[in-house]
């Protein structure tokens, strides 16, 4: 099985590990991530104004390329996922945006939201299946108590992202179970880490992350996992190494026994 893959800017730099572990795990699970050509940065945030078109075009290009290949488009970074899925929804359901974006793009055939956008976790849940994943685990992380940190971008707005129940998600917990570890459910797992605010308001971001980390630790988490480089950055600032924060793909690679192959 081949998927079109949109890595995004951070996965080419500060979060190379998030990307590399994912590719290695994909191979181990028998599917391939085919990086789309000439992708451009998604912009990091979903364009704020409903009248913005230009800022949506890089997503449309990626979506259209996947469409032309007849593949689903897989993303890994929460921000890219959020932006591309929402732009796709606009292209499917908002006539005005669709028309204007297509006018800019001058594609051979207009793009109307045909591509299915999947987060890597969704591939694991809906395409591979957590039961199948469990069978492929050679190195179960038994006994590890792991808190899933979702953040906001993966889950909200729930109706458009359709990723999981935005107020009580379970996909990462199910993932943790599949790799043999024990999920720790804590109520702050879908609260915001502060996001981009940490550039200028470091104190504010730290307060927010402290709440998240305290809650996770309170419920017994020994480790936090995330899919987002920015969440990772903000949480690390807060924990100061007290408890590790890692990408979920790293644990996946470890469980599948391919971690050592990966060079970063």
């Amino acid at each position: 099985m081949k998927y079109s893959y949109y890595p995004g800017c951070t996965l080419k730099n500060k979060a190379k590990d998030l990307d590399a572990y994912a590719r290695a795990s994909a191979r181990a699970l028998g599917f391939e991530l085919e990086e789309i050509e000439d992708w451009q940065c998604c912009g990091g945030v979903y364009p704020l104004g409903s009248d913005e078109i230009a800022t949506k075009l890089s997503s449309v290009r990626a979506l259209n390329e996947a469409k032309e290949k007849g593949q689903d488009l897989v993303t890994l970074c929460s921000a890219c996922h959020h932006v591309i899925k929402r732009v796709n929804d606009d292209m499917k359901n908002v006539e005005d945006i669709r028309t204007r974006a297509n006018n800019y793009m001058e594609l051979d055939e207009p793009y109307a939201g045909e591509t299915n956008v999947l987060h890597f976790l969704e591939v694991l849940r809906d395409k591979v299946g957590f039961d199948k994943l469990k069978e492929k685990v050679v190195n179960p992380l038994t006994g590890k108590k792991i808190g899933a940190y979702y953040g906001c971008l993966l889950l909200r707005p729930g109706k458009i992202l359709g990723f999981d129940n935005p107020e009580n998600p379970t996909i990462i917990e199910d993932f943790i179970r599949a790799i043999g570890a024990t999920p720790v459910v804590y109520p702050y797992r879908n609260e915001c880490c502060g996001g981009y605010i940490s550039l200028k308001e470091k104190e504010m971001a730290k307060n927010m992350c402290d709440k998240i980390v305290d809650s996770a630790e309170g419920f017994g988490a020994e480790m936090l996992i995330t899919a987002c480089p920015l969440c990772m950055y903000n949480l690390n600032k807060s924990t100061e190494g007290k408890i590790p924060v890692v990408y979920f793909t790293e644990l996946l690679a470890e469980a599948l026994g391919v971690k050592e192959e990966v060079e970063i």
Binding site: G8, C9, T10, N13, K14, A15, C41, G43, G44, V45, L48, G49, S50, D51, T55, C77, A79, C152, L155, R156, P157, G158, P166, E167, E191, C192, G194, G195, Y196, I197, S198, L199, K200, E201, M204, M208, C228, P229, L230, M232, Y233, N236
Partner: protein
């Protein structure tokens, strides 16, 4: 730009109908930045209703909203105040010279771990 114009612009950019608000405050009850804000999320709606866009675009809140969509997700009336503050920020960002982040100050805000994503999204939020 007159304010009537700005009110309409905010409504258009955000796609929000502030008249649907029933003033329950669930947005403010959900907001993780509430304590940092001078104008609170539920008040965004009244400011737009009353046409006082000036106060809104000059508020601290404009730069404190995280766009975490907690208010958008939970608003029972489909008003989604987060979209209003986003729209107000757009008004500011689109007017030249009004930027909250200048490239000159960026280097000192960085550290070796700063992910690209942070810069990209902060620039998108703060500047045109």
């Amino acid at each position: 730009m007159s304010h009537v114009n700005k009110v309409d612009q905010i409504k258009e950019i955000s796609g929000v109908n502030p008249l649907k608000c029933m003033k329950c405050g669930k947005c403010s009850a959900s907001c993780p930045s509430f304590n940092e804000m001078d104008i609170k999320p539920h008040q965004f709606v009244s400011y737009v209703q009353n046409g006082d866009i000036e106060s809104l675009v000059n508020s601290k809140s404009l730069w404190k909203c995280l766009s975490c969509f907690a208010c958008v997700e939970r608003c029972p009336r489909d008003v989604k105040p987060g979209k209003l503050i986003d729209a107000a920020r757009q008004l500011v960002v689109r007017e030249k010279g009004q930027t909250y982040l200048s490239p000159d100050e960026v280097p000192e805000l960085l550290d070796p771990e700063t992910p690209q994503q942070l810069l990209v999204s902060a620039f998108r939020r703060y500047r045109r």
